[in-house]
């Protein structure tokens, strides 16, 4: 009897728990659908239209893939795409390598010292990006910046370098700031991951005669792969979406235009241009495709590893 009634009670209990589970999920789901899924769908749909701020209705007229074909011959967009890839290709490996190096050096330090290092590297992350950028802007300033002052003081340069106004330097200056604001989280994650590496495996490897490099590469690195994958994907997405630095420092000039900034400029500044919303959304779709492809590649490589 008891055996027969138990599954019935269980199902009812299960149903009630399911309902309450979904209700707990509902608030997040509403936000996720409202602010992620629906805008994403709107973006994809409008990328196929000539939507703009002047016509009635959200979607404009259907224009097929013409926004995308136009993008392929848009010199400004292609330059922005090139700059975006430079930022990603340079910043992602350097952020990962630097974070790993710093984490390896500090994770065995005693509690307060380790916390101090964590704070130092995490400070630019928690500080407002506008505040950080303004300080960098002062340092880079062509006329009164500290970099020019120091370099001239030690005799390395005769004339001021226009760090943010010269296309030879501007993009690299942006990458440097992006680097400093990006390493905080990976360092904290790597320190945590290194601390969680199974000590018995390390000891076993050492007993088997592995040197420290082999221990790191064959044991620790393998166990940190999920963390590395997360860091790679997050850093890649952040680098692809570099916007605030460009907006605050160069406004896309001096060879620093990125796809994210060009989307903003096309959508909200070039409002006289026909179909500017649709065209900007087409750029957004292209950017999303590139981010998706690169993230998928990273997942695949990490899985193989």
């Amino acid at each position: 009897m008891a055996k027969q009634s138990h599954p019935t009670m269980s199902r009812a209990l299960q149903r009630r728990e399911n309902i309450s589970g979904y209700l707990f999920l509902l608030p997040s789901l509403v936000f996720f659908i409202g602010f992620v899924v629906i805008p994403m769908l709107i973006c994809i749909i409008t990328s196929l239209t000539d939507a703009n701020m002047h016509d009635q209705g959200m979607f404009g007229s259907f224009v097929g893939l013409s926004n995308f074909t136009k993008l392929m011959s848009d010199g400004t967009f292609l330059e922005a795409l090139k700059n975006t890839f430079i930022i990603v290709i340079v910043s992602v490996p350097t952020v990962c390598a630097f974070s790993l190096w710093v984490s390896s050096a500090i994770y065995k330090l005693s509690g307060p010292v380790l916390s101090a290092f964590r704070c130092i590297f995490y400070l630019p992350v928690v500080t407002g990006s506008v505040a950080v950028t303004v300080v960098w802007k002062w340092m880079y300033d062509n006329y009164t910046g500290i970099f020019n002052h120091v370099l001239k003081g030690v005799g390395l340069i005769d004339q001021n370098i226009n760090w943010l106004g010269d296309s030879k330097y501007a993009l690299w200056c942006i990458i440097l700031i992006l680097f400093t604001t990006s390493v905080g989280q990976p360092i904290v994650l790597y320190v945590s991951a290194l601390g969680n590496v199974d000590q018995t495996l390390i000891e076993a490897a050492e007993v088997d005669g592995a040197n420290s490099f082999q221990v790191f590469w064959q044991v620790k690195w393998a166990q940190m792969m999920p963390t590395t994958l997360y860091i790679l994907v997050i850093t890649t997405i952040n680098s692809f979406q570099c916007f605030a630095l460009i907006q605050l420092l160069t406004k896309g000039g001096a060879g620093t235009n990125t796809v994210m900034y060009h989307i903003y400029w096309t959508a909200f500044k070039l409002t006289e241009q026909a179909g500017h919303f649709g065209y900007a959304n087409a750029m957004g779709v292209v950017l999303a495709i590139f981010i998706g492809l690169l993230s998928a590649l990273q997942f695949k490589l990490a899985k193989e590893k």
Binding site: L26, P27, G34, D166, K251, A254, K269, L270, Q273
Partner: protein, 456 residues
């Protein structure tokens, strides 16, 4: 379990309500809240006001002191006391003001009144049909009193008037007179007429560079901020033009402009600086680093860098002199600044009528003196309902002296179609020239882009 359920329902409802609040039903009368928003109805004299006759929203760019809350509050309070119409003011910055207005238009949440120039009100928002035609506000007397060029600029090619002009000025440049004297370059200035020739300018820059061994002027090109200065500099040096007189095509690829750019690029004392916009250039000039500024007007002369450290003085106390842009014959064609009010057509006739009452009160009544003085520019008309406006600055030496430049006002070409896109092409072109690209080819390419956008 019951508690869990209850909590889940409460949480869900809270989140759904929050979402609904974010997406929000709109109240046309309420622009997005802002720290700087003030209400003309919140006045200490409220009990003495007439019964409420409605309310208005005004969004204003920083046009002189129309960007300062305390100044604007005084005049809108006076308007409210007089008419019973309360005014909620939101202050826009040039950096992101257009974004806010465009977003508001898209969200159908535009303000009743907007204060700016014809390049936005006529060429952009008026052209797209967002603004109310104000033609019925001008009778023959008004038309005879209002500056002809200002009236023309505020009138769309379709005959509709989308802006009621309040103030005008001439944009100019400025020099650090003490620095010029120190370098012996002051001999090239005509301080009586505040003008100089192209040759004088070239010689002065050379003398300054020889003395200071660093760039003394900057063709700033980080963005569009203050780009009227770089346009006027290039156009005036050899008599080039920016657009046709009929305002249907951009002409900055003419030989005179190319010659001017080549001349500027060849001068070591002039830097093409893609890290500066107009506002940045003013700051560096105010600090005494640059010896001349190309982004200047009477508002700057009265309060350089808006630093409140003295009219016509740099941070170090050096004397600033305003000058016309150098031109071959010494007679520049200066860029005009025209500012006034437009009314967004939000479909509510009562609010439109209130907005017209506001414009009439500010631009064509005995109160126009205060509205003009708030802007710190010159009146766009000679008289308003019998009040003579020609001598309102008689008590201000700087304003009086500045009027010497007003006859040099040139064509107001900012109403050429495709203006926003053309500005982007202009400063991007300057960046390329600064980087060393072939000047003739670059200028031709970017002017063609501007004209293509114009046609599109």
């Amino acid at each position: 379990m019951k508690m869990k359920k209850l909590l889940a329902i409460v949480l869900a409802m809270a989140m759904v309500m929050a979402l609904a609040a974010c997406g929000g039903g709109k109240d046309d009368s309420q622009p997005p809240a802002d720290d700087q928003t003030q209400s003309g109805s919140q006045t200490p004299e409220a009990p003495e006001e007439p019964a409420s006759a409605g309310e208005l929203t005004l969004w204003t760019y920083p046009i002189g002191n129309w960007g300062k809350e305390e100044e604007v509050k005084a005049i809108t309070d006076a308007f409210t006391a007089d008419t019973g119409i309360s005014v909620k003011v939101e202050y826009l910055a040039y950096a992101d003001g257009d974004d806010k207005v465009n977003s508001a238009i898209t969200a159908k949440n535009a303000p009743d009144l907007i204060m700016e120039g014809p390049e936005r009100l006529v060429t952009n928002w008026g052209d797209k049909g967002y603004l109310v035609d104000l033609s019925d506000m001008f009778d023959d007397t008004d038309k005879s009193e209002i500056n002809e060029a200002a009236m023309a600029a505020c009138t769309h090619s379709n005959g509709s008037v989308y802006e009621y002009p309040l103030v005008i000025t001439a944009h100019c440049m400025a020099i650090n007179l003490d620095a010029f004297k120190e370098a012996g370059a002051d001999v090239y200035l005509n301080l009586d007429t505040h003008t100089w020739t192209t040759t004088d300018f070239i010689n002065a820059v050379e003398a300054l560079y020889d003395h200071y061994q660093a760039p003394v002027g900057a063709v700033y090109c980080k963005g569009q901020g203050g780009d009227q200065g770089t346009r006027a500099l290039v156009n005036n040096l050899y008599g080039g033009t920016f657009a046709t007189a009929s305002h249907d095509q951009y002409t900055w690829d003419d030989d005179e402009n190319i010659k001017a750019l080549e001349q500027l690029k060849s001068m070591p004392g002039i830097a093409f600086d893609a890290s500066l916009e107009g506002g940045d250039e003013i700051k560096v000039f105010y600090q005494g680093i640059l010896k001349m500024a190309f982004c200047w007007n009477i508002a700057q002369q009265l309060n350089p860098n808006q630093a409140d450290t003295g009219a016509g003085l740099t941070a170090n106390g050096e004397e600033i002199v305003f000058m016309g842009f150098p031109a071959q014959g010494g007679s520049p064609a200066l860029q005009g600044g025209i500012w006034g009010f437009g009314i967004f057509d939000n479909g509510d006739q009562a609010r439109i009528e209130n907005a017209k009452t506001f414009i009439k009160w500010m631009c064509d009544s005995e109160h126009t003196v205060d509205a003009v003085k708030t802007a710190n520019y010159f009146a766009a008309r000679s008289a308003a309902e019998g009040t003579d406006l020609s001598g309102i600055w008689a008590d201000n030496d700087i304003m009086n002296e500045y009027q010497i430049l007003m006859p040099y006002l040139g064509d107001y070409y900012q109403v050429t179609k495709g203006w926003a896109g053309a500005r982007t092409e202009w400063w991007t072109m300057l960046q390329k020239v600064g980087e060393g690209a072939d000047i003739a080819e670059t200028v031709a390419a970017y002017a063609a882009n501007a004209n293509a956008a114009d046609a599109g």
